[in-house]
């Protein structure tokens, strides 16, 4: 299950060899770079990305009619430049085309994939942990905060009628109204928790002069605090997940177990079960990390083959045993938990 938007590619005017090269490159992108694209028919020039053979009659006639929003990759022909236009000289080699497409796809996915905007602005839906066997249960804090983040809603959270925290999902901010308010919210069950919608002006006036925190920080802490023993909905034990970015640990307290899970996931997509095995950590840590990353929109669930180690190019080489020994001693010497 992938929640990434698929990139559609139109091949225009490519000859048989050009088509073969493109197909090989797309297979490599899918298998090794985890980027999946849909190749449209030769007469369908509606793709997000249009690859045009400028030495062909069809290419030259279609090119001027393409929309300015489409990205154009021109093969051969005279050098061209302009917004959304890149060119590649002929003969087109697999490696050169792959590098070029990799760059383009990554740029375009940033614009395309709604969940990517999650890194910067409210958008896609991270899946909150829900208990589908008990639909009538009151939503827990993690679900409430995740929904506010997704929907951009503005809320007041209270225990026993005492409002403790105000949340603004639109600006992704929160403010504690009392000392230790967050911890009190984390400590109670969903039955004791009350939440009501307030308007933005209310949020503004009541938080005036208070320190605003990042909602993602609150969500992260909430997810970690909950120490869930089950994965978020939509992610199974064997579902490979990809980490979109290294989490912002700056004010999250620093946990070596999370560093190790993040390092493993940064290397290549993996499932919860695989992470437990590669890190040697207990399942609770891994579930906590996955839940927290999911809550702040840093995870992408992949189709089952996404974590096949044979198909993924690791970001770094593994250290030799000798180096590992040295690094472990360094960790010890610096008073760091054993890496």
């Amino acid at each position: 299950m992938s929640n990434e938007a698929e990139l559609r590619i139109s091949p225009v005017g490519l000859d048989a060899t050009g088509h073969k090269v493109l197909q090989v490159v797309l297979a490599l992108l899918g298998d090794e770079d985890g980027i999946r694209c849909a190749l449209l028919d030769a007469d369908d020039a509606s793709g997000h990305l249009v690859i045009v053979d400028m030495d062909s009659q069809q290419g030259r006639s279609v090119f001027p009619g393409l929309s300015s929003g489409q990205v154009k990759l021109l093969l051969g022909g005279p050098p061209a430049s302009g917004r959304n236009i890149v060119s590649l000289a002929k003969p087109v080699h697999v490696n050169a085309l792959r590098d070029m497409l990799l760059k383009i796809c990554r740029r375009m996915q940033v614009q395309l994939d709604a969940s990517l905007h999650d890194l910067k602005a409210p958008a896609a839906a991270p899946m909150p942990a829900t208990d589908d066997t008990a639909p009538a249960a009151a939503p827990d804090l993690l679900t409430i905060l995740s929904n506010a983040r997704r929907e951009g809603s503005v809320l007041a959270l209270a225990i026993d009628g005492d409002e403790l925290v105000l949340v603004n999902g639109a600006t992704r901010a929160f403010a504690a109204l009392r000392e230790g308010a967050e911890e009190r919210l984390f400590a109670v069950g969903p039955e004791q928790l009350a939440c009501r919608q307030i308007d933005e002006a209310d949020f503004e006036s009541r938080t005036h002069g208070r320190t605003l925190g990042a909602l993602d920080n609150l969500l992260w802490q909430c997810a970690v605090h909950a120490e869930p023993d089950r994965l978020p909905a939509g992610i199974g034990d064997e579902t490979p997940v990809r980490l979109k970015a290294w989490p912002n640990f700056t004010r999250q307290g620093f946990r070596n177990d999370y560093f190790r899970i993040a390092a493993a996931l940064a290397r290549q997509p993996a499932s919860c079960a695989q992470l437990v095995e590669t890190t040697g950590l207990d399942r609770r840590s891994v579930v906590g990390f996955i839940t927290a990353c999911n809550a702040v929109g840093l995870l992408v669930a992949l189709p089952p083959e996404g974590a096949d180690p044979e198909k993924v190019t690791p970001l770094h080489k593994a250290a030799t045993p000798e180096r590992r020994g040295l690094l472990a001693r360094l960790a010890q010497r610096l008073g760091l938990a054993q890496a």
Binding site: R106, N248, R329
Partner: protein
Amino acid sequence: MNGMAQEKIIFTGPVGAGKTSAIAAISDVPPVRTDVACRGEERAIKDTTTVAMDYSYIQLDDGRRVHLYGTPGQARFDFMWELLTRNGLGLVLLINNDHPEPLRQLDFYLDAFADFIRQTGVVIGVTRMGIADRARLDDYQARLFERGQVYPVFEIDGRSGDDVRILVQALLAVLTI
């Protein structure tokens, strides 16, 4: 000092990013400026250039030392970075957030050290965060995302031993997982 030791961690980044401070914050002795000879093995043996680097070390309990080198801040030495990093353990990249274009600096250094990073690993520390509001940590995350690179990135104070130790800890996690 002539050649470079192998058990080394390289600290790099633009002028004023906090390289000297960070090395000083975790090393056993205050960093010194030292001339390091870079000998191009592919080139003629006598083709040797020296670069002034910050140098200090951390002594391990078995007597070995992990050497810490800080590259000079100016990019004019970038042609030698391949040699300076050869056989190194990993890279600590510091970016001063009050630089006019911190994200371009990030791109520049990640590209310049791309091979070394592929062979080992990198951790990024963003320093001087409170001074000028040029970019937030999620801008760095987003830039790394665009580059397709999930590298550890932290907001740190380059002068704080605790902060620099966190960087090293993340680097060790990356290198040993």
